[in-house]
């Protein structure tokens, strides 16, 4: 019903609003009814009382007017007081047309005078006299042309009604406010279980897979809690199965690789005894065992990272020293590292093995696809370190720069896969490792030539 309100308002605000609106409608309806009933009743009662007194007075006036020396002034003076009223008489034969002890004829509405003068019986009329709500009632006295009027001011009823109006309005506002507060309370109470669920979900997302919510004995909530817990269990089972699978694959693939590795090494040691053809075949075998081994390691690394079973150990790492070791290990000692002046310290908190892999994978990537790295730069600021590796290749088109970090990046890899080609997990692992360090990695162009520039930005501390 209130769907138009959904825009921009939270559930809690909507519930409070609905409560408030409900409170306002109900209290306003009740107030209006109470007011109009009170108003009608009190005015009617007053009019009835006035009329009763009026008719008594009218017959008194008639009786008195039959007396010879009757002076209307005296008659009116001696009339019993109609509550809040003032008498007026109109005597057409008199020299003074109007006899009015306290009021003037102008106080009467002319229509009423006309009606009484021409019609039969009593007429009454409610009207506003000088801003006061008044009741005028008139009748012709017996068979004479004399008209007798009473003007009754209703202002004290009006002022009573006005204070009633104020009170009711205040009560309505109060009721609305209370309803809103009630709505806020009810909604936060109703939503409190959601906060528990939200906490539980966050804790699951943070890796505490055995997080569950306690049932509260509320049949409405327990169904929800039950399905949440079922979901958590299913998720836990599945993640554990994935992690176990990765681990099983690890064992299953690594064991035969062990035999292959050791056997190939034994053969390699006897390469001289082999014919040229057998030696060439052995080289192929040896290289592909290495490649296969590398692929298995990369696959395991990435599936471990997917399963969230990261056993990162963060230490203070000197990136300059790390670069020296990577260059030595990958045969790039001839490429100098340009350390920017902006770098005040090359030390960051990181996982050495993974950072090593980041740099070596980037260098190998440049070797495989872009005629090798040509420049390594290290810069940074207070809170991060920036490593850039430029290659001498043809560069990477803008729309493929993100794709190169995809696993087995197909479209790109199909073109980029070289003869000694890897399966394209290298850059995906770079992205995973950098993400683990809360850093960023991207590709841009080298300003001076057309090669690709890989940029890795790593925060100095883990918290960022």
């Amino acid at each position: 019903m209130l769907s138009f309100l959904r825009l921009g308002l939270g559930l809690r605000a909507r519930i409070a609003f609905a409560f408030g609106l409900g409170g306002l409608i109900v209290s306003a309806l009740l107030s209006l009814t109470a007011y109009s009933v009170t108003r009608t009743t009190s005015l009617d009662q007053r009019a009835e009382a006035v009329e009763r007194q009026f008719f008594n007075n009218a017959s008194f006036v008639r009786t008195a007017s039959l007396t010879e020396d009757a002076s209307f002034g005296d008659i009116l003076d001696n009339l019993p007081q109609v509550a809040g009223g003032s008498p007026i008489a109109r005597i057409p034969d008199n020299e003074n047309l109007w006899v009015a002890p306290r009021l003037a004829s102008e106080d009467l509405p002319p229509e009423l005078i006309e009606q009484v003068a021409t019609g039969e019986g009593a007429y009454s009329m409610r009207y506003s006299r000088n801003g006061n709500h008044s009741l005028a009632i008139g009748i012709r006295v017996g068979e004479t042309a004399v008209s007798y009027f009473e003007i009754v001011t209703l202002s004290e009823i009006e002022s009573n009604l006005s204070s009633l109006r104020t009170t009711l309005a205040a009560a309505s506002i109060g009721a609305t406010v209370i309803a809103v507060l009630l709505g806020v309370w009810a909604s936060s109470r109703a939503l409190r279980p959601l906060a528990t669920v939200s906490e539980a979900a966050l804790s699951i997302a943070a890796g505490d897979l055995d997080t569950r919510i306690d049932e509260r004995g509320d049949p409405d909530l327990d169904a929800f809690v039950g399905s949440f817990n079922d979901m958590a269990s299913a998720l836990e089972t599945r993640i554990e199965r994935d992690a176990r699978f990765a681990s099983d694959v690890s064992h299953e693939l690594r064991s035969p690789l062990m035999t292959l590795r050791a056997s190939v090494d034994v053969l390699d040691a006897r390469k001289d005894e082999l014919s040229e053809r057998s030696g060439a075949a052995l080289s192929l075998l040896s290289e592909d065992v290495t490649r296969f081994q590398r692929l298995v390691e990369d696959l395991l690394e990435i599936s471990r990272s997917d399963a969230g079973s990261i056993d990162a150990s963060f230490d203070s790492i000197d990136i300059v020293e790390l670069l020296r070791h990577v260059r030595a290990a990958t045969g790039h000692v001839d490429i100098d590292v340009q350390v920017m002046k902006s770098l005040n310290s090359p030390v960051i908190l990181g996982d050495k093995r993974r950072l090593f892999q980041v740099v070596s994978n980037l260098l190998e990537n440049a070797d495989k696809y872009a005629d090798g790295p040509v420049r390594i730069m290290l810069g940074g600021s207070e809170d991060h370190i920036r490593l850039t590796i430029d290659d001498a290749g043809p560069g990477i088109p803008k729309d493929e720069r993100r794709l190169v970090f995809d696993r087995f990046a197909r479209g790109v890899a199909a073109r980029r896969r070289g003869t000694g080609g890897g399966a394209g997990l290298g850059l995906a692992l770079v992205a995973e490792h950098v993400r683990l360090h809360h850093g960023r990695v991207w590709v841009e162009e080298v300003p001076e030539h057309q090669g690709a520039r890989f940029v890795v930005e790593l925060p100095r501390s883990r918290e960022q």
């Binding site: 690890s250 035969p256 690789l257 050791a262 230490d315």
Partner: protein, 226 residues
Amino acid sequence: MGTRILTVEDDERIRTAVRFALEDEGWVVDEADSGESAIDQFSRGETDVVLIDIMLPGIDGFELCRTLRRNSDVPIIMVTARDDTHDVVAGLEAGADDYLTKPFAPKELSARIRALLRRNRPVTADASTVRIGDLEIAAEQGVVKRAGEEVHLTKTEFRLLCELASSPGKVFSRETLLEKVWGYDYFGDGRLVDVHVRRLRTKVEADPAHPRHVVTVRGMGYKIQS
């Protein structure tokens, strides 16, 4: 008489291939296909280094390691197909001196064995006896006493203690310790140091949970103090 290596591995193909490769490296290799047979062979007293695969039928690698450790400080290298923290730490806590992940290069294994054997000859500390609190380290004799009583350390633990005791109060980073004690150049696993320090504490500290001698310097490494 060459250095004898006992390889404990249930997979015959791996066992054979590793034996060939190790023999090419110049080691004498004995084979065992189970923990039970390994204990049998070890009891002959000819073994210099033990290579244990964690996944064994019957007595598993951890249990075998603990059993051997009860009576011997022979260098033990664990071989695991899983390099997750649990297996590595459990292996080291069972008493292994080092670990390798399958598939390893036979040359790497040889380097590890050489490093372990090098360590078996006590080195360091010019002074014959170093005193640190209630600890007494006689480097030459390879004897450590705590409150006058001899404490039995493995060679690796002893070497680690001597290294730390060579400069009391100086903080040694994990990297330095990996290089000096295990012979790793850059890629040693810090968990090796952590677990060995833990094991060392259970032997040389009165209250290993609140160490007084071998203390952790947060974010930097370890140091020894009296």
